[in-house]
């Protein structure tokens, strides 16, 4: 057992309101620079849809992630070692700028500086790259709130496997449904970008598992861009280097949650430490499709287990980190409650950002201009539990996103969420808990105490509950080599050293 710590984020999709505050916070902090205009290290996608860059989940097209070959070995989808050399100067699987979008702004100056005329001046859209007027034809989350759009939603690769009849229903206007999927770099345990990089410029920090691009070593081969199945490494055309989400490590090191999590309006994001067994990365990533999710979740170690604690200390993980791991909200959602899953575990990168799948309303019909639920009036709450198959977001769809097509873990998670809702409604509306409700909790695999804990963590967590950040003691390691006073007053924005092209 080789214990390592990983800073993980959890997205409670049931709470996401799709406001994009996270994206804007990240944009303002990190990617408001030349060459980074088109990058959204954090983006929020409307689902079903094809996301950003368009169709990133279609690995037949983008060739990201890993696959398991006939002998059960793990191979990059992008290329073999020899093939990588052959295609070094022509990487055919790169997304193009059109796959992201031509970044645009508006000519606001024209509103004030336009010459006198017959018409009101307008702020026409102009390209952020060339400054010339552009016809905006795509953008990050172009299909915003367009549930069931016949181009983007209809072509969502995660809709594969959903019954044709259900798909046809979903395209009816009354049954249109969408949810939001915020995405950042998954800071994977088995990152394909690291494996694809010919320069060895990408690495995973040992202390907290943040995957970083060394801008000094990066030679701009861009194999990481195509290697990452989540398309979360971006090429900066101004510096000639690749960049990606850094999990706001400068904020983590000073005890603050990442900007996207900190600014989250719906408070859907949680941060915490997970301990995992690094010895099992290779074996669990090469499990067959039906076991790959379980194998990944099994790798996450119990921070209360004395053996794990001993092994962790041997690896230099201090008590502060172990304490944070024990209080980690991620551990509770993922391991204790089994309600959260990584995005697309079938890419075999062992993504370490987790998602609580969203509940969706039950299908309704319209009779005599009245909306009617497809449920009997009596005991509706309890029926809901058993009628998850009638949820507007098909379970198959969520399973394609989070559980390699297996609907059972999704069903279990959604039942727990519904059970907690019903339980709390009984408690707050009726004032009493009847035996049927207790029975329903038990069926969902919950006790009253657990239901209460899930409720607290979901609805009323404080900042400290949501963000359990370990002490990095970065100030101590910095003071050991640098005099902090000598750098005082030099903090600020910009590059400490300008990244040189090809340097």
């Amino acid at each position: 057992m080789k214990v390592r710590a990983q800073m993980s984020m959890l997205f409670h999709l049931d709470k996401c309101i799709g406001c994009h505050t996270c994206s804007v916070a990240c944009k303002n902090l990190w990617t408001d620079r030349d060459g980074a205009e088109y990058m959204w290290w954090n983006n929020v996608e409307t689902r079903p849809g094809t996301g950003y860059p368009t169709g990133w989940e279609d690995q037949d097209h983008y060739r990201g992630g890993w696959h398991r070959d006939a002998k059960g070995r793990l191979k990059l989808v992008l290329h073999s070692r020899g093939g990588g050399i052959a295609k070094a100067f022509y990487n055919p699987a790169l997304p193009e700028l059109e796959d992201y979008y031509d970044p645009f702004t508006f000519q606001y100056g024209n509103l004030f500086g336009a010459p006198a005329g017959q018409q009101q001046p307008t702020a026409i859209p102009i390209s952020k790259i060339t400054g010339r007027p552009v016809e905006i034809s795509t953008g990050p989350n172009w299909d915003d709130d367009l549930g069931g759009s016949d181009i983007y939603a209809a072509n969502d690769p995660s809709m594969d496997g959903v019954d044709d009849a259900v798909r046809a229903q979903m395209e009816e206007i009354e049954r249109v449904v969408f949810n939001y999927l915020p995405r950042i770099c998954n800071h994977c345990l088995n990152p394909a970008c690291v494996a694809a990089c010919p320069s060895g410029a990408i690495y995973k920090r040992s202390e907290d598992g943040v995957v970083l691009v060394n801008e000094d070593k990066c030679r701009g081969w861009r194999m990481c861009v195509s290697g990452c199945p989540y398309k979360k490494v971006y090429y900066n055309w101004d510096t000639g280097k690749s960049e990606k989400c850094i999990l706001c490590f400068p904020r983590l090191e000073t005890g603050q949650a990442p900007a996207c999590a900190h600014s989250c309006v719906g408070r859907i994001r949680y941060m915490g430490v997970l301990l995992y067994d690094a010895d099992r990365i290779a074996s669990s990533a090469s499990e067959p499709d039906d076991r790959v999710l379980d194998a990944q979740l099994d790798m996450i170690l119990d921070p209360f287990d004395p053996k794990v604690i001993t092994a962790a200390k041997l690896e230099g993980i201090d008590d502060g980190w172990l304490d944070a791991a024990r209080r980690s909200p991620i551990y509770r959602f993922v391991k204790d409650w089994g309600m959260a899953f990584p995005l697309h575990p079938e890419y075999r990168t062992e993504a370490m950002m987790f998602y609580v799948p969203p509940l969706s309303p039950i299908m309704s019909t319209i009779e005599d201009s009245l909306v009617k639920l497809d449920l009997p009036e009596e005991r509706r709450d309890f029926e809901l539990l058993d009628e998850l198959d009638k949820a507007r977001l098909p379970l198959e769809y969520l399973a394609n996103l989070f559980t390699v097509g297996d609907t059972e873990p999704i069903r279990v998670a959604l039942r727990k969420m519904l059970a907690v809702r019903t339980y709390k409604r009984r408690q707050s509306v009726d004032g009493t808990i009847d035996a049927t409700t207790i029975e329903m909790l038990a069926e969902a695999g919950l006790t009253e105490a657990t239901a209460e804990a899930i409720y607290r963590m979901t609805t009323t967590p404080t900042m400290d509950d949501r963000f359990v950040l370990p002490p990095y003691h970065r100030e101590m390691s910095i003071e050991a080599i640098n005099d902090p006073l000598s750098a005082k007053g030099e903090a600020g924005f910009g590059y400490r050293r300008e990244p040189k092209r090809g340097a």
């Binding site: 860059p53 368009t54 169709g55 279609d58 193009e96 059109e98 606001y108 181009i151 594969d160």
Partner: protein, 304 residues
């Protein structure tokens, strides 16, 4: 809403720095040039002659018959004005001196100042009239009989040259001792110089004969007088051994035949390669990816 000027710091760095460099170079360059000129006035005509003219026209002005016209006893060289004109403007074309025809090229010595040229002209007219203030070397004859070839004595004891070593120096596989570039940088000679390259300077095949054999070529190489070679070799002349080796090599060049490469053949091969490249690119570009959104708008993807 205006964007801030891009790379403001780099802009300042890229304009101000070179300007400063130019200004400093100009100031110090002018200063040093002045000091050079001041020094040059102290140099006598004979020293200037030895440095600039003696390489071809020989220390005593006896020249090399058939290649470099003699100055001693040459009636034309007795006129300092004529000499000054030739030195400052150069001279080329057929002339006849003391009954011997010459057809060579003398480059203009534009780096010499007017004072220096006047000093040289005085010295040369002294040589021509036999009243040079400096004593010419004992070996130099004061007058040359008409039409009779003179046996010129090399200014220094001869050094045995080796043609193989000369070839290595010529092609540059052995570097010249004082750091001047190898001959093949500009010249071809004999079988050296494939693919018709190195056409910057003249073809040196047969230069041995053209420049008057061993003595002439040795003299030339000891102080190359051409406009392009002079600055290259002025500060880093070749050693006597190197000169002897090169002379031995160049003497041999007319006997070897250069393998011929037809320029037409090269052109055809290049065009054929270009054509194949274009065809290959056209084929590759047919399979170029379209933006994903465009694919979606035209064709619905089929489920896996």
């Amino acid at each position: 809403m205006t964007a801030p000027p891009r790379k403001g710091r780099t802009l300042i760095g890229s304009t101000l720095l070179p300007v400063a460099v130019v200004v400093f170079t100009a100031i110090f360059g002018t200063l040093s040039a002045h000091s050079d000129a001041a020094n040059a006035q102290d140099v006598s005509g004979s020293d200037l002659y030895a440095a600039n003219c003696a390489g071809c026209h020989q220390p005593g002005g006896e020249g090399i018959v058939g290649t470099f016209p003699p100055l001693a006893g040459n009636p034309a060289a007795a006129d300092p004005t004529y000499v000054a004109t030739v030195v400052s403007q150069g001279k080329s074309g057929p002339i006849e001196v003391l009954g011997v025809p010459y057809d060579g090229v003398m480059p203009p010595f534009s780096k010499l100042s007017t004072d220096e040229i006047a000093a040289i002209a005085d010295h040369v007219s002294g040589l021509a009239t036999g009243t040079a203030p400096d004593t010419a070397p004992d070996t130099a004859p004061t007058s040359v009989p008409d039409g009779v070839p003179t046996t010129t004595v090399p200014p220094e004891p001869p050094v045995a040259g080796d043609a193989d070593r000369g070839r290595e120096l010529f092609v540059g596989s052995n570097r010249l001792d004082r750091g001047a570039p190898g001959c093949a940088s500009c010249h071809v000679a004999g079988d050296v110089g494939n693919l018709g390259g190195n056409g910057l300077g003249p073809d040196l095949t047969g230069v041995y004969g053209r420049l008057g054999g061993e003595a002439g070529l040795t003299a030339w190489l000891a102080n190359p007088a051409s406009k392009t070679m002079m600055p290259v070799f002025a500060d880093r002349p070749m050693t006597d051994q190197e000169i002897a080796d090169l002379v031995a090599f160049l003497a041999d060049t007319p006997n070897s035949e250069r393998p011929s490469y037809s320029a037409d053949w090269l052109l055809m091969a290049g065009l054929a390669g270009l054509g194949m490249l274009l065809i290959g690119m056209a084929i590759a570009w047919r399979g170029m990816r379209r933006p994903y959104a465009q694919i979606l708008a035209t064709t619905r993807r089929s489920p896996r």
